[in-house]
């Protein structure tokens, strides 16, 4: 956990000077209802992202394969290694046992083609969120070290239309998705939020869930439903800032507060360490230590906010 905090701080520091490129594509709906829904979700994402600083947003409603290629070629030209790229796919997908394709106007786009386009983008941190039906079939083509892959379905055989995108859109603008309250919604937080809401949707409708989202971010592992330190998935996604909600880290610019910031970082690391060791500490002792650290952290933050 301590390692994760350090990595998060590094990423946050890096990302202060980095740009995130977002490419959102909505495909063919096939019928008016889906057409309208897919387009609306893509437009909602566009609107939310454009309000965020340090972002370059391109949204292709009813996009074609050529348009996707052109958009990613533009990103490839502009992006630097410290930048990040996020590709979000909405629509219907198919998987024939060999390759995955998203249904677009004109020729469809396959997962292997998309992977090839992304490999030309120099940004070292990449996130692909494939929210189509059968999107699980795209994972094996898209996974790569440094790239987080999230799909709405666990395999290519989950073929029914998905609702994951609806809740992913919600995650981008709901402060509740920011579960650690650091004013940044990470890819992992958005994934967990959307996954939970998707499950709740099926539960509330008393319907059998026909989609099960998964995440893979090691570049070599099997995608998982619940990323955790135990299964080794989610580390990169946890440190991938998807969208900023406020002016986080503004205090870092004030030299007078550097000592307090260092103290704060130290306390946060101690808290992480304590939480990591929770199972090995008697409950009362854990609670006592945690309360003391949290109180001290609160006092430090209060000083910082003065």
């Amino acid at each position: 956990m301590g390692e994760r905090t350090v990595l998060l701080l590094l990423v946050c520091a890096l990302s202060l000077h980095a740009t995130t490129f977002y490419v959102t594509v909505s495909g063919l709906g096939g019928e008016p209802d889906y057409e309208q829904r897919f387009g609306m979700w893509a437009k909602d994402i566009d609107k939310t992202l454009k309000a965020s600083p340090d972002s370059k947003v391109e949204t292709l409603v009813d996009g074609t394969r050529a348009q996707v290629r052109e958009a990613l070629e533009r990103v490839a030209k502009e992006a630097k290694p410290q930048d990040a790229v996020v590709v979000m796919l909405i629509g219907h997908g198919t998987f024939d046992g060999y390759d995955y394709k998203i249904n677009l106007a004109g020729p469809d786009l396959s997962a292997s083609e998309l992977a090839g386009m992304l490999d030309h983008v120099p940004a070292t941190r990449q996130l692909v969120v494939n929210m189509t039906s059968a999107s699980g079939g795209s994972i094996e083509f898209l996974r790569r070290p440094g790239r987080v892959v999230i799909t709405a379905t666990k395999t290519g055989s989950e073929k029914n239309a998905t609702v994951f995108a609806r809740y992913w859109v919600e995650a981008l603008r709901d402060a509740a998705a920011d579960t650690d309250k650091n004013e940044v919604i990470s890819a992992l937080e958005a994934y967990r939020y959307a996954d939970k809401k998707t499950a709740a949707y099926y539960e509330s409708q008393n319907r059998l869930a026909t989609e099960h989202a998964v995440l893979e971010d090691t570049g070599k592992g099997e995608p998982v439903r619940a990323p955790s330190p135990e299964n080794g998935e989610g580390l990169l996604a946890a440190t991938f800032p998807l969208i900023r909600l406020g002016a986080a880290a503004a205090a870092a610019k004030d030299p007078a507060k550097l000592q307090l910031l260092a103290k704060k970082d130290d306390l946060e690391q101690q808290i992480d360490k304590l939480k990591y060791e929770k199972a090995a500490i008697p409950p009362e002792e854990y609670k006592k230590q945690l309360a003391a650290l949290l109180l001290e952290l609160a006092r430090t933050q209060e000083e910082l906010d003065k």
């Binding site: 509740a176 579960t179 309250k181 709740a200 539960e203 008393n206 946060e268 945690l290």
Partner: protein
Amino acid sequence: MRLCLAVLCASAVLSGQTLEQAESLWKQHSYSEANGTFRALVDAHPRNPQYRVRWGRLLLERFNKPDAMQLFQEALKIDANNAGAYMGMALVAAEGFENQAVEFAHKALAADPHLLEAQELLARLALEDNDTAKAIEEADRAIAMSPSAVQAKAIRATIDWLNDEADTKWDPHVAEGYETAGRIFVLNRRYEEGIQFYRKAIELEPDLWSARAELGVNLMRLGEEGEARTQLEMCYGAGYKDAATVNSLRLMDSYKNFITYKTQTTILRLHKKEAELLHPYFETEMQRALATYEKKYGFKLDHPVQVEVYPDHEDFAVRTLGIPGLGALGVTFGYVVAMDSPSGRKPGTFHWGSTLWHELSHVYVLTMTHHRVPRWFTEGLAVHEETAVSPEWGDRLDPHVIAAIKDKKLLPVAELDRGFVRPTYPTQVVVSYFQAGKICDYINREWGWPKLLAMIHDFATSESTPDVITKELGLKPEEFDKRFLAALDAETKKTVDGFDEWRTLLKKVAEEAKAGEHDQVIHDATAIRDIYPDYVEAGNAYQFLADAWLAKGDKKAAIAELERYTKVGGRSPDTLKQLAALLEESGNKKEAATVLDRLNYIAPVDEELHRRLGDLWLADGNTAGAIREYRAVLAKAPTDPAASHFDLAKAYRTAQRPEDAKEELLLALEAAPGFRPAQKMLLELTK
């Protein structure tokens, strides 16, 4: 010629031996081998209906009704007047409490006037319909056919036993006879006595597995799980694996996934996955209902009532196996109530509060009458209680009932039980619930509650419906029916007469709404709303009207329409949330909270609902309510645990419970150490 005779003789001998062999294997409980032998027989002699009939009877005994029915039907195709085939079909229909059972039994008797089994079945069916006179008549015919007719004697004896005449000359002294008595007692909801008869049956014949299985199932129903399991496992071990035995054992296995909460008056069993969330709501409602009923019925229960809540409807359904005419949402066995959980139903389709009060009414009425109350009365009273708690609760006048009223299909009060036990059309059970409820409403309105209470006491002494109606209401049942139907007609006339027009106009309104013709929607939907105000299902007039008013920018009119919707019992969570949001936007936070609180009885598994209601109540100073709602948010692993703990901390702080607030703040900060509002409050509380 000689050769031909030799072949014929050989064939007859062969088939005779084989049939004998099949019957013998069956008798020895070698069911699989018997089945194979029957199959071979039917293959070899496809035109022999008798083989199919006997094979069908084997399958029927071994819990395969569909294939048995098919064989009986095939036998009838070969021989349209085959008594055995009709008898088999009568037995299948009787097991499913289908009305055709009587018809098939009559056909069997017509084909073979000496068929004792058919005559005895007619006696049993009459008694299952609570038609005692007819049951006696049919049983006596059977006894005339054969003075030692066990089932006929059992029917005569059961009638005496039901009337508390322990010494009867008809006592069959045979296990199968006691099993029949057990069945009839259970159908009359007299479970404990039914259990005693099953015990007598297996005492005489320990391997009468059907009786032992029924004993186990009914012990389980009464909460005697230890012995129930023992009995059912014995049946299972002996190869008796009918649906009731297997499913009951499976259900008892699943009890490890349930948590039991006990108080002095209640035992509440909830599934682990929702126990923490539902416990406060169910417990409060149980206590409220018991306190109300104790006063209203003037009766104190002598031990705790057990309520079991099943999130999986299939688990609940195991409880009602083999009992006709019970509600599809809840069931009461003495002091034990089993019901669906709100999470097991699509939100908006189930009001758990209404179901709970309905079932708890049964607990009182069954106990007070020693289970001697006719079904129509206890169901009617339970339906009456649903709307007595709140006019918004209970079920509305639905299209099936409207059709039944229009077609004059309502039964006379003296025969209303038949509508529950052996319906003659698919929706008759639902219609009978409605009618019974309306009868109790009518008695309550015209004669007052004390008369209903007096009727309960009359039924406790086994008085019949006609006698009780005459005694308490001073009317012959026929006169009562006339007056009741006139009152019901006056109440429902507008809807019943206008139903076809309503249906036509509803389609028109839907088209107008689609075309955005808001003024036209307002005009037409208002008319259909007033023709059939009880219609609150999908595509109701209230929603069309509210949408039209909103489109015209008249929020106040939209609110008024949706408030009408809630008052007539509308339950759609989306619509109720929409009303709450509109009320909140208009500054009516208290009313908004009241609307959302209704949803706690309809769709409580909803994080957003509890958070919004908690916020509204906290703002309004209802800290106890806010605490309950925020705790409900946390009970279902919320999307945002830090914010949820913080909300609860705020409520505790307002309620002057700083230590509890601190606990919640630490939990919030454990999830999100940098959560500033929580840090700030922690510092304030620590100073």
